[in-house]
């Protein structure tokens, strides 16, 4: 800034300060931390979700949690407790039904999650007093995040990330090559169940911020963008959470600046980044590798 005149320096400083203005507000600080942490967590677990072709499960689990959220409200139970138990139950049910092979996994998810969502809707229709909370559950309420919520988000995120780190080897093996993993003694069934429970916990803490309708996007979009940038699994595990955290942070600033729903802005930021990467790759004449096609 040495080449600037004093008045220009002041203007620049003022611009920087105005950039930081949102941090004057506690609701923004809480929301910002939660959005960044959740973005990173969703980006991290999303790598496995996308590679295991479980995107629909992430989407379904978030809808299932809606039933738990409404029940928690009706029974006056803490959201994280009620919703958490409901999410774990839904995850176990999906795992159980899909592994029984009576029906396909997609149908199992459809049955469990839509039933749970329908239960929530049915309960809402009997009571008309909690529209605001239900709206928050559907579309997120990042600006209503308290400091206690931030702590819960951080602790759950650390626990989920820690568990994923611990099982990273069998999880990678079971994701890449389940048949051989099983032959090598990896309990793929247990790994699948544990993973779906970790996903349920992720969706639960993300729901309060992003809402049940938008959580799936935060889980799916960052790893898809990251996949275009690297062919290496270990790099993907670093790039995807960074992208998720960036979209969380950028989305919060844009949301504050343009006064738009924070959850929607975070997801739209991810989508814009995705389009940008696509355009850059197309302009370079490089076709991104398809994720779900066999060579």
């Amino acid at each position: 800034m040495e080449h600037l005149k004093p008045i220009e320096r002041l203007e620049t400083l003022s611009n920087v300060m105005s950039f930081l203005t949102p941090f004057d507000y506690e609701f923004f600080r809480n929301g910002f931390i939660a959005a960044v942490v959740i973005g990173a967590l969703c980006g991290f677990i999303g790598v496995y979700v996308v590679l295991r072709r479980m995107s629909y499960i992430g989407h379904g689990l978030s809808h299932a949690i809606f039933g738990g959220a409404v029940l928690s409200y009706v029974w006056n139970i803490n959201f994280f407790l009620g919703g958490g138990l409901w999410a774990l139950l839904s995850g176990v049910l999906i795992h159980w039904v899909s592994h029984r092979r009576w029906v396909g996994a997609d149908a199992a998810i459809g049955v469990v999650t839509t039933s749970s969502f329908a239960l929530g809707v049915a309960l809402i229709s009997t009571r008309r007093t909690f529209t605001r909370n239900i709206e928050a559950a559907l579309f997120g309420n990042i600006l209503g995040i308290t400091q206690r919520d931030v702590w819960i988000v951080v602790i759950v995120s650390l626990l989920v990330a820690g568990a994923l780190f611990l099982i990273r080897r069998p999880l990678l093996f079971a994701t890449f090559d389940p048949e051989v993993a099983s032959a090598y003694g990896v309990s793929t069934g247990k790994i699948d169940l544990l993973f779906i429970m970790l996903l349920a916990a992720t969706v639960l803490v993300s729901t309060q911020i992003l809402g049940v309708t938008l959580v799936a996007a935060a889980i799916v979009i960052p790893p898809v963008i990251a996949r275009y940038m690297t062919q290496r699994f270990q790099t993907l595990l670093i790039v995807s959470p960074l992208l998720g955290a960036f979209c969380g942070a950028a989305g919060m600033f844009l949301s504050f600046s343009f006064d738009i729903s924070s959850a929607a802005t975070i997801v739209l930021t991810s989508a814009a980044l995705f389009i940008l990467v696509e355009i850059i790759l197309l302009a370079r004449g490089r076709k991104p590798a398809p994720i779900h096609e066999h060579g």
Partner: protein
């Protein structure tokens, strides 16, 4: 040759190429893997019926037979992945256990691999270390030296950071053989390692397998190409749910055995100690 005629040290078991002076002929008599009257089903469908088979240390064997004839099921049975309805499977005289399975490497069909999975050559081979070091701990210097050594043996040096899709068919097969090798197995099972490969790649693969076998590792593979088996492998098992014949390819690949296995007429030509199998052409349609 009758399936149960062969014994370790039996000179009739030797391959004319002279590469067979190996451990399995001198084995003390305990088979590496022994299947006794093994039967297994997939639902109501019989997969294996009273199959008895011994795999000796250092043996190099092909399992041939028609599609759906139980070849892959046999490999999966040895790996303990298929429930056995009757009979038993022993490894070195003991029932299959986690520790015994650690002595077996498995290479699946390449068709089952997701070639767009974001993973490099090194990352795939490193998975082989997960068998013994399952949870914590990184890949140390010892493992890294071993990794590079195996990559060198399989002609993969310098390809470690390449995506697996960027390799030739033979190199891709070598990557998965490498993953099986890092666990120091006594036995490697390969499901159709030559399937879908061109002649050059198939040649590379059989070269790798001979190298591995020369170091004392027993190799059992399934294959469809009888001529490839006859040209390169010293021992073959013909399977169609039940074991039809076992022995040197040029002895068991005859019209009678192949008709029983494939339920069709095949032309078998024996010349200069070699055997060639061809399909009998159908009369052209008018």
């Amino acid at each position: 040759m009758n399936p149960h005629d062969h014994r370790p040290g039996d000179p009739r078991s030797l391959h004319p190429s002279g590469i067979e002076e190996r451990l399995w002929h001198r084995a003390a008599g305990v088979a590496l893997v022994e299947l006794t009257q093994v039967s297994s089903n997939y639902g109501d469908t019989v997969a294996l019926q009273n199959v008895s088979l011994k795999i000796w240390p250092g043996q190099f064997m092909a399992i041939v037979g028609p599609n759906g004839g139980g070849k892959t099921t046999l490999l999966r049975t040895i790996l303990g992945m298929v429930p056995v309805n009757s009979g038993h499977v022993l490894m070195r005289g003991e029932s299959l256990s986690r520790s015994s399975l650690q002595r077996i490497g498995y290479v699946p069909q390449l068709e089952t691999i997701d070639w767009n999975f974001p993973i490099t050559v090194e990352e795939v081979i490193t998975m082989g270390f997960f068998v013994k070091n399952r949870w914590l701990g990184g890949i140390g210097d010892t493992e890294r030296r071993k990794l590079y050594n195996i990559m060198e043996r399989l002609n993969l040096t310098g390809l470690g950071t390449r995506h697996i899709r960027e390799l030739s068919g033979g190199q891709q097969q070598a990557v998965f053989i490498g993953r099986a090798l890092v666990g120091d197995p006594e036995l490697i099972l390969l499901d159709e390692p030559a399937s879908g490969l061109d002649i050059r790649s198939r040649d590379d693969v059989i070269h790798f397998l001979h190298e591995i076998n020369h170091q004392g590792v027993a190799v059992v593979l399934t294959a469809h190409d009888l001529n490839w088996v006859a040209a390169h492998l010293p021992w073959a098992v013909c399977l169609n749910h039940r074991l039809i014949a076992e022995g040197r390819p040029n002895e068991i690949f005859n019209a009678e055995v192949l008709k029983e296995a494939y339920s069709g007429e095949l032309v078998v030509i024996h010349q200069d100690g070699m055997v060639m199998i061809g399909e009998r052409p159908h009369a052209p349609h008018n």
